[in-house]
Amino acid sequence: MFRIITPEKRDAYRDALQAMHEMRYRVVVCEWGWDIPGVMVGYEADQFDTAETVYVIVRNEDGEVVASARMNPTTQPHMLSELFADCCDLQPWPVAPDVWECSRFVTERSKFRDPLEDFRVRCRLGIGMTVHCIDRGITRLSWLTHQKFYNHVVKVWDTEPLGLPRSDNGDWAWIPAVSWIDQAALDRQLDRFRNAEAIVAAYTAPKLELQTGRAG
């Protein structure tokens, strides 16, 4: 199940938010190796965890927070406007009350039994974001992500890049983008959630078959 934590609900979910920041530290700092200025040991938060931020979290069967994402209004300083403005070389980053920015889409993969669970948790997180947007009249989400994730997102959200891909040292390129959120997008996400088994099975099998050169 996903949980949407809006600012007015924060007191009721203080423990979940604490667990979320700790989880983010384990993934973003320890696993991804991001250098976040001024980050506290064991607790990842930055200047974009603001009073207006909305969080979506996913817990596992044991109640642990295993995934989270955050959304910020673009009418306030946000990551694209403050840190990555120069990445938007195709079109300006959108700013409007019905456009929010999504960031820190984080899953703690070490907690998952298999790729299927990983996939379903990502689906839940994405569905949670879409549900919140539809509910609150948010029509677009802007974001910056690496290409592999961008290519995944375009399968469910109608998306346009805001800039050209950027890459350091041959690693995954980063792309700023904007996605349109509507009921059709939610339907596509629910379809993928229902089809998770087939999608994940197909993802692993043919690639392996080609890599090993196995025929028949």
């Binding site: 890049p161 995954w172 087939a198 993802y203 080609l210 050169g213």
Partner: protein
């Protein structure tokens, strides 16, 4: 990039996304790549052709039929250094770069295209989380010398075309449709939330009898007898979102 004008790239992306047929999408991509010196497109998922027939995957090419037939007869995909590099590479690379590290058979596969007037090319690998890897390979009659920005421009447009075509031509057999239809899912989802048939009908703006029939159909598909069984089975089979 200061002073950079990306309007042509953005126009191409919007044009491709607005196309309703594969032919139109490929034509839009062809028109865009022409100014970069490319006139051939090979776009598709990278799978073992011995295991997965082309009709079951995303595959579009305007390469000469004879060349395609020749590649198939040699099972070229299994030796093609461009395909193998695309599976591993996170970034675009030229055919020449892939050829450099290839076996003799691999170099032969790359060089096959020369007989058909295709001299040089570049491959854009397509990777997505939980998706079959693929690529868009562009070929041209002359050796091209692209700037870093031009490569990125081609990359984002090729990427747009690839995923637009995948969405348009799919679902492929590996992307099988959900067991329940959208309407059936809605009805079961509301039943799971404790709504009566009358309430579901009011919410969805349909007849109560239609709700009853839709739930019955869902029950048949899920091999479930009554309302509680349908809901429980739908959750267990991940057909609704608990």
């Amino acid at each position: 990039m200061r002073g950079y004008d990306g309007s042509a790239v953005l126009d191409a992306i919007r044009t491709i996304n607005a196309t309703g047929t594969p032919q139109a999408a490929v034509s839009a991509l062809s028109a865009f790549i022409e100014s970069y010196g490319f006139d051939r497109i090979y776009l598709g998922q990278l799978v073992n052709p011995a295991n997965v027939p082309f009709k079951n995957i995303l595959y579009i090419s305007d390469w000469p039929d004879e060349l395609i037939a020749q590649r198939r007869s040699l099972m070229a995909a299994l030796h093609d250094p461009i395909a193998l590099c695309a599976l591993r590479s996170k970034r675009p690379f030229t055919w020449a770069e892939a050829r450099e590290h290839a076996s003799r058979m691999g170099r032969r596969v790359v060089d096959m295209v020369h007989d058909y007037g295709i001299t040089d090319g570049i491959m854009f690998p397509m990777h997505a989380l939980q998706s079959v890897s693929g690529g868009v390979s562009l070929g041209g009659r002359q050796k091209t010398d692209l700037s870093e920005t031009q490569v990125k421009e081609l990359e984002i447009v090729c990427q747009t075309a690839y995923y637009h075509l995948e969405a348009m031509l799919g679902p492929f057999p590996y992307q099988k449709l959900a067991q329940l239809t959208a309407r059936e899912t809605e009805c079961v989802q509301f039943a799971a939330a404790g709504k009566s048939n009358w309430e579901i009908a009011a919410i969805l703006g349909i007849e109560e009898d239609t709700v009853k029939k839709t739930l019955r159909r869902a029950g048949t598909k899920l091999e479930a007898g009554n309302r509680a069984h349908i809901v429980a089975t739908a959750i267990a089979k991940h057909q609704i979102f608990p």
